[in-house]
């Protein structure tokens, strides 16, 4: 049996390893389009901040990990075409690779807004190790840096850029920072926190055009204003890498549509991780959750099904944790709330504390937390188990910080 995994991120690597364990006699090939050993994008900001060496970003450590597991790794090659009927992949060097079972775990790539000058040389994304190296070279202390995009990735880079002591301005189109993981209240607190630490944050602001100047760039914002920058880093969003599937018959929407077994619409083709649009835990609706835990879970379930071990994935739960210049925030599930559900909030803006719990019927279905680092995972526990809250619902509505006590009491996890 020939298993081919396209994409050497966490989903791909975990899938390859799981395949190896589930089918010791099968051939496992892992194809990645970057030259380095499989690494984690999650770790790039820490590399950029100078906390770790490039090797510290690797998904697996020690030499010969993949060889020892009998996984053939093809580096620096991109798949350009999938012939589903003949089960053959074409690589960018023209080589052909045959597969019996295929996993698409090609992740996503950064996208830039359609702005004049956005593709000028020297405007950097922060997505790959190569990007990080380029930014590291240019982001010198006191250099003027404009970061476009204050989404999740933008905020992670923000931390790393600040650590390099640059003069930093963040420009975000949305009305708040991390709009996709924070509500207005939380986003505002993060903004105020950043501003208090010397970062200029412009929300509801659009970069209209970028032009080259003698020393760097000028960014037009609004009609009259402009920002001067030595370096522009663009973190305005990502899109799944699905183009190469054109003509393969694999059905896509935002990402590749998969079922509870991570199967695509085409037999023997599976998808996992950031590129996959699979069932969400609570609603069951197909969603793209570009996060590490989902990649890891997807990778494992897909691999088991590929190897003929029937596995059912309940669904992914969106969750994020972010450190913005020391302010730690996290979000879980349906933090915007679900129709007909209740919401409980506790906030202390002066001390940058905020906790929001969203209920649906007798359960917690989502949450936001700011400034909470201890036992925060238990919120996932509450959401994931769908634990009926009983009398604790009232208690949580009164004081959302009782989550740990509620969990302990309700689960009788400790008898």
């Amino acid at each position: 049996m020939d298993y081919v995994v396209v994409g050497a991120g966490p989903a791909g690597v975990i899938a390859a390893e799981t395949l190896r364990r589930a089918d010791p006699s099968g051939a496992v090939t892992l194809i990645g389009d970057e030259p380095a050993a499989p690494y984690s994008r999650m770790a790039i900001p820490y590399l950029l901040a100078g906390d770790i060496e490039p090797a510290g970003t690797h998904l697996r450590h020690g030499t010969g990990h993949y060889r020892a597991h009998g996984i053939k790794v093809v580096k620096g090659r991109r798949v350009t075409r999938v012939a589903a009927k003949s089960r053959v992949l074409t690589l960018d060097d023209g080589a052909k690779v045959k597969y019996d079972k295929l996993l698409v775990a090609t992740g996503s790539r950064p996208v830039r807004p359609p702005i004049k000058g956005i593709d000028l040389p020297g405007i950097e994304s922060c997505w790959t190790l190569a990007d990080a190296a380029a930014i590291a070279r240019k982001a010198k202390p006191r250099s003027r840096v404009v970061l476009m995009g204050a989404g999740f990735i933008g905020c992670i880079i923000l931390e790393a850029l600040a650590a390099r002591k640059v003069d930093l301005t963040v420009v975000e189109m949305a009305d708040r920072m991390v709009a996709r993981m924070m509500d207005r209240q939380g986003g505002d607190m993060i903004k105020r926190w950043c501003e208090g630490r010397g970062v200029k944050v412009l929300t509801s602001t659009r970069v209209e055009a970028i032009e080259k100047t003698k020393t760097g760039f000028r960014l037009a914002i609004g009609r009259r204003a402009a920002l001067e920058a030595d370096l522009v880093v663009c973190a305005t969003g990502v899109a799944p890498n699905v183009e190469f599937l054109k003509g393969s018959g694999v059905e896509t929407e935002f990402g590749i549509l998969v079922d509870h077994g991570l199967r695509t619409s085409v037999p023997d083709i599976f998808a996992a991780g950031d590129v996959a649009q699979g069932p969400e835990l609570i609603t069951g609706k197909p969603e793209v959750h570009a996060i590490q835990p989902t990649a890891s879970e997807h990778g494992r379930v897909a691999a088991l099904n590929m190897a003929g071990v029937p596995s059912h994935y309940r669904g992914s739960l969106s969750m994020n944790v972010l450190n913005t210049l020391g302010l730690i925030s996290s979000s879980f599930g349906h933090w915007q709330g679900l129709p007909g559900g209740e919401i409980a909030e506790a906030s202390d803006p002066d001390h940058f504390c905020y906790l929001r719990l969203c209920f649906k019927d007798d359960r917690v279905v989502g949450a936001l937390a700011l400034g909470l680092t201890q036992h925060v995972g238990v919120i996932r526990g509450l959401v994931q188990t769908g634990l009926p809250l009983g009398p604790w619902k009232k208690a949580l509505q009164r004081d959302p910080h009782q989550v740990m006590n509620a969990y302990l009491d309700l689960t009788k996890a400790v008898p």
């Binding site: 001390h351 504390c353 910080h401 740990m404």
Partner: protein, 619 residues
């Protein structure tokens, strides 16, 4: 309001954090200062060190309720360590009830938390213009407005502050309405039901417009010789675990004492008219564990203070059918239960034997922040006033203030806590109340502070201890219990009282609890202090430290205007013989013991430390 990062430079290794936090409420400033290590070597910590700071920082003649008074929350070098019972802290200030130095010791978790935030002492000066509370997270100290907290109970205050800061980890010491309204024996309550209970330290806090101190620390405590420290605290804990005294405290709590005192005839009953109480079996430790007619059992669980391997604390609940709470669901919860002094002060001394009423009164004390001993004994005096017709229903809001009336107890506990009606009078304490109604002789206490649950006619050394205690009548500033039980005369009591006062003063300065003396002698403490703290600490040095502390407290009191005349007991104990029990027919022999005591102390006949004593102790 005021805000600021605080950090002092000196960092002492071993036990002490090396920092004191000084908060000036008048100026709205908070700043950390290095701990005076010279004083720490002389006075150790907690009670002793705070006494030294108080002595140096304020004029003892200043009014206790004025901004000139200084309020000190003090941890000891062993507070927050793995030594057993390491959760203690003391509140030291000038007491409004006595006009003398007040030193009230508490457990729970607040003290250790203050230490973890990096402070050996929290010193509060001045008076805020409007009610405030302190929010301390390590180096970050804020003086915040307490607008929404003033008027709230201790329990509400803790919940509101935790919710406001979204921090369930905050440990809080606060005052209830009693402290706000100046009940002269208001206490500082921490962790819902532990309290720096006596001498009105909560009233001082209230006079400063300081509602609460909320604190969380993450700095940790280190010791001089960690390896040796772990060995000696391990040995000491083992010794404690094996001791009978410890086992009884764990099993029955301190209320095991009520049977002992009953049998001995030292259990003050009906304002000290009697020394034995017929209703003891309804309110003793056994009663707490036994189901009542409805199948309701008072005791729910044991609870330890921080670091404590005894767990004498009781968590109890009131029978939902009891008159005090039948229509008040908010009290259908478990909370701090009876210990000996509360059982005595709501039981025998007021003649009540209804365990649920006693437990309810205890809730009131914790919730509103009052000293149960002073309240109970003041109520007892009011009942005697009522009994002799000096006051009537007109004075008492229509309540029949008869000895034994459980409803009088529960209603007055609440009224006093809230500062309502006759409760306002009870809030003055027994001495002022009895004087007000023309019967000063009915006040049962010393220096304005009411007696604990031991009768000085049965326990002669206790009587001397009461008379000479620097904070007014107190059972916790000496320890001659064994001597008193063995010999019921006043002979040979002066020296043991003096020595045990010094011992207790030293233990109170370590950060550990007095109750470990159930198993430990001074050398056991010395071994732990020595492994934790800079310098070399042995038994002799601890005694000497304790003696230094005692004398400095005395000097504070003398400067405050107290004299030897204040070292006395009520006539009833000096002249009216005990009516029953093993001491039947006896009176207190204070007159004989006191001169011997002054001599043993190295004091003049009028109770002042001689120059020689002052020089010997390096005061």
């Amino acid at each position: 309001m005021a805000k600021g990062k605080t950090k002092a430079k000196s960092k002492a290794a071993g036990g002490w954090q090396g920092q004191v936090l000084v908060v000036d409420l008048t100026k709205g400033e908070a700043k950390a200062e290095p701990l005076n290590m010279e004083w720490a070597q002389q006075y150790l910590g907690e009670r002793g060190l705070a006494t030294k700071y108080l002595y140096e920082m304020m004029n003892p003649r200043a009014d206790a309720m004025s901004p000139e008074n200084v309020l000190i929350f003090a941890t000891g070098p062993l507070t927050g360590t793995m030594a057993s019972t390491s959760g203690r802290y003391a509140v030291v200030t000038k007491g409004p009830l006595t006009g003398a130095i007040a030193c009230s010791n508490s457990g729970g978790k607040f003290g250790a938390e203050l230490k973890f935030a990096g402070y050996d002492l929290l010193i509060v000066k001045g008076r805020a213009k409007k009610p405030v509370y302190l929010h301390i997270i390590d180096d970050k100290v804020e003086i915040l407005p307490a607008d929404g907290l003033w008027g709230k109970t201790v329990w509400q205050t803790e919940e509101l502050i935790k919710a406001k800061h979204q921090n369930p980890l905050l440990k809080i010491a606060s005052i209830g309405k009693a402290g706000e309204k100046g009940v002269l024996y208001a206490c500082v309550v921490n962790d819902l039901h532990r309290a720096a209970g006596r001498s009105g330290v909560g009233a001082v806090m209230g006079s400063k417009n300081l509602k609460a101190v909320a604190c969380h620390g993450s700095k940790g405590v280190t010791v001089k010789d960690p390896k040796r420290f772990m060995k000696v605290v391990g040995d000491a804990k083992q010794k404690l675990a094996e001791s009978t005294g410890r086992k009884e405290l764990t099993e029955y709590g301190t209320n095991a004492m009520i049977d002992v005192m009953q049998q001995f005839g030292g259990l003050p009953t009906r304002n000290f008219r009697e020394v034995q109480f017929e209703g003891v079996e309804h309110i003793n430790a056994q009663a707490m564990k036994t189901p009542n007619a409805h199948g309701h059992t008072n005791l729910v669980a044991n609870k330890a203070c921080f670091g404590c391997t005894i767990a004498c604390g009781r968590i109890a609940h009131i029978d939902k059918q009891h008159f005090s709470i039948v229509n008040r669901k908010e009290y259908w919860l478990a909370s701090g239960g009876l210990e000996y002094e509360t059982a005595y002060a709501f039981g025998p001394v007021v003649g009540v034997d209804d365990i649920d009423a006693l437990t309810f009164a205890g809730y009131m004390m914790n919730e509103h922040g009052m000293d149960p001993i002073s309240f109970g004994v003041t109520l007892a005096a009011a009942m005697e006033l009522y009994d002799i017709g000096a006051i009537t229903k007109k004075d008492t809001d229509g309540i029949e203030l008869k000895f034994g009336n459980a409803e009088a107890l529960t209603v007055m506990a609440e009224k006093t806590g809230k500062g309502e009606g006759f409760g306002k009078i009870l809030g003055l304490g027994s001495k002022r109340m009895c004087e007000k109604y023309g019967h000063p002789e009915l006040f049962m206490g010393v220096k304005g502070q009411e007696f604990a649950g031991y009768d000085s006619r049965a326990l002669q050394g206790m009587g001397l201890g009461y008379a000479t205690s620097n904070r007014g009548a107190c059972h916790l500033k000496h320890d001659v219990f064994a001597e008193d039980m063995e010999d019921q005369t006043g002979s040979g009591k002066a020296v043991p009282v003096k020595k045990s006062q010094d011992k207790v003063a030293a233990i109170d300065s370590t950060g550990l609890c007095l109750f470990v003396t159930a198993a430990w002698g001074v050398p056991d403490f010395a071994a732990q202090v020595d492994a934790a703290c800079e310098g070399s600490w042995d038994e002799k040095r601890l005694y000497e430290t304790g003696e230094r502390v005692w004398n400095l407290e005395r000097m504070f009191n003398l400067k405050a205007g107290l004299t030897a005349k204040d070292d006395t007991l009520p006539k009833r104990l000096l002249e009216t013989p005990a009516p029953s029990g093993t001491a039947k027919g006896k009176v207190s022999e204070l007159g004989k013991m006191l001169p011997e005591y002054y001599k043993a102390r190295g004091w003049t006949t009028d109770g002042k430390p001689t120059n020689q004593t002052i020089a010997r102790l390096g005061l």
